[in-house]
Symmetry: C2
Subunit: 261 residues, 2 copies
C-alpha cells in the first residue's frame, strides 16, 4: 500500500514550509499538487518523482476532485510515498479532510503535515497581528467565496474583532457593504495582500467604506484583513518595505483614518 | 546594530518549525525564549549561542515583558543575530507586534518568521479540519483567558461555525455555560488537545453540555476546539492512533451524540 502525506505548502515561499513537509517532499515518489503551489516548492521533490498537476479551474471543482480521487485509487495499491501538496494549510479551505477520509476508506496510511496558513502568515510577516492587546482579542477566518445557493451568513462573523477573508476579493464590494450594514465601522482599516509571499506581492490598505464604494482595485489571489490591527502595519511599514520590498499602495488618507480612532 | 528575528516555533515538535525559522535559529548569537519552547527546538541554535529564558509565570506578565525589553535594549547596539523565539505563531496571542514596535523604535532591523499556530496545526494533525464543506464555512480563534476587568465578549464569537480557544481550559465550565446560553447546541462536540505535539499529548473529546456540568477533566496547556468538525476525528481516529499514538479518552457516548445530528 502507498503511504500518503497530505501537506500544507504554506503561504508561498519555499522556506516557509515546515521542516517536516520539506523532508516528506524530498522523499516523495509521486507529488499531486495544486494550482497555488510554485515551481520552487516542487523542486524540493526528487527529480525522478512524478509530479501530477491536479489544480482546479473555477467551475471545475467537482471534475477536479474526481480526478484526484482517481489518482488516489490508482496509486494506493503501489508501494509508494505519495505527497498531496496544497497551498497554505490543508485543513483550512483545502478539502484536506475529504481526501484523508477517502484515503482512510481505501485503507491507506495517511500523515497530515500542517502548514502556515496564508490567512495568518501573510499579515504576520507584514506586521499585522491578528490579535493584539487592547486591539483584538480574537479573529475569524472565513471564505468570501459563497457556493451557489449557500451564501455566507456574514452575521455569524461580523462581530469578531479581526476578520481574515480568503477567496473573496471579487466579491469585496458586496461583502464590505454587508459588513457595514451589520454594524462594522465604515472607517475601519482593511488590508489586501495580493500574491502574498512572492515577488509579485502587493499590499493595499484602505478602509471598509472605500471598498464598499468600489474604489479599491484588488486582484485574486489575495488575503483580506479587516480590523484596526492594520494600523500596526502603517506604524511599521517603513521598516517592512526595507526588508521585504513589497510594492505598496496607500490610500491617500490612511493616516487621517487611523488618527480619528 | 543587532538584527532581530521574531520567530514562531510552531505547536511543539522540532520539525514543525518552518525551514526559515530553523535556519535563522541555526545562525543565532542570542536566543530569547519563552516557556512553551522545548529543549529540542533550542538545540537547533549553535552551542555557543547565549540562550536566555524570558518566560513568564502567571501574574508576572508585566515584569516579564519589562525584562524582555531590557534585553532588547542591551542587545540592540551589538552586532548580533538575536532570535526571539515564541511558541506557535508570534502574532497570535504572542505580543509579537509589541516587541516588533519596541525594536522598531530602537532602530533595529526586524524580520518576522511566522509559525504554525497551535490553534490550527494541532487539530489538523488529528483530523479535525477548522473548515469543511457542509460542516464549517469559517472559524474563530480566541483566548479564553480574560484579563482582569476585561472579560471576553463571547457574543462576538459564539455564532461562528467552529471555535478554537487558546488559554482557556481553567475557565472551561463558565465558557461552556455561556456559549450554551448564547445559543450553541449543548450536544455540540468539543475536543481538548492537551500538551499537543509532544509525547504527553492527550486528546479528550466530549460535548459542550458535559463541559458545562464540570464532568470533563483537562489540564493546561490545551487547545480547545468547539464544533461538529470534531466528528471527523472520530471517523479517522483508529488511523490516527496508529500513526500518532496519542493517549485517547473518549466520552462514553460520543457516537450517540454525533448520530443525533
Amino acid at each position: 500500500m502507498a503511504k500518503f502525506f497530505i501537506i500544507g505548502a504554506g503561504p508561498g515561499e519555499t522556506d516557509l514550509l515546515t521542516v517536516r513537509a520539506a523532508r516528506a517532499l524530498s522523499r516523495a515518489d509521486v507529488v499531486l499538487y495544486d494550482r497555488l503551489v510554485g515551481d520552487d516548492i516542487l523542486s524540493l521533490a526528487p527529480k525522478l518523482a512524478r509530479k501530477i498537476y491536479v489544480g482546479k479551474g473555477s467551475g471545475e471543482q467537482e471534475i477536479g476532485q474526481a480526478k484526484i480521487f482517481e489518482n488516489f485509487v490508482r496509486l494506493s495499491e503501489q508501494d509508494l510515498n505519495v505527497v498531496r501538496l496544497k497551498g497554505g494549510d490543508p485543513m483550512i479551505f483545502g478539502r484536506g479532510v475529504e481526501e484523508w477520509l477517502f484515503l482512510h476508506e481505501l485503507g491507506c496510511e495517511v500523515e497530515l503535515v500542517p502548514g502556515v496558513s496564508s490567512a495568518t502568515g501573510l499579515p504576520a510577516m507584514l506586521g499585522i497581528p491578528l490579535t493584539a492587546r487592547g486591539a483584538s482579542r480574537g479573529f475569524a477566518v472565513v471564505t468570501g467565496h459563497g457556493l451557489a445557493g449557500a451564501p455566507i451568513e456574514w452575521s455569524k462573523y461580523s462581530s469578531v474583532d479581526t476578520l481574515a477573508i480568503l477567496m473573496g476579493v471579487s466579491r469585496r464590494v458586496e461583502i464590505a457593504k454587508e459588513l457595514i450594514q451589520l454594524g462594522r465601522n465604515p472607517k475601519e482599516l482593511v488590508c489586501f495582500i495580493e500574491n502574498g509571499s512572492s515577488q509579485q506581492q502587493k499590499v493595499i490598505t484602505s478602509n471598509l467604506e472605500k471598498v464598499a464604494s468600489q474604489s479599491v482595485e484588488v486582484k485574486a489571489p489575495a488575503v483580506w484583513i479587516i480590523g484596526n490591527v492594520v494600523a500596526f502595519y502603517e506604524k511599521l511599514h517603513a521598516h517592512v518595505s526595507l526588508s521585504e520590498s513589497p510594492k505598496e499602495i496607500f490610500s491617500e488618507n490612511i493616516l487621517q483614518v487611523s488618527n480619528e480612532q
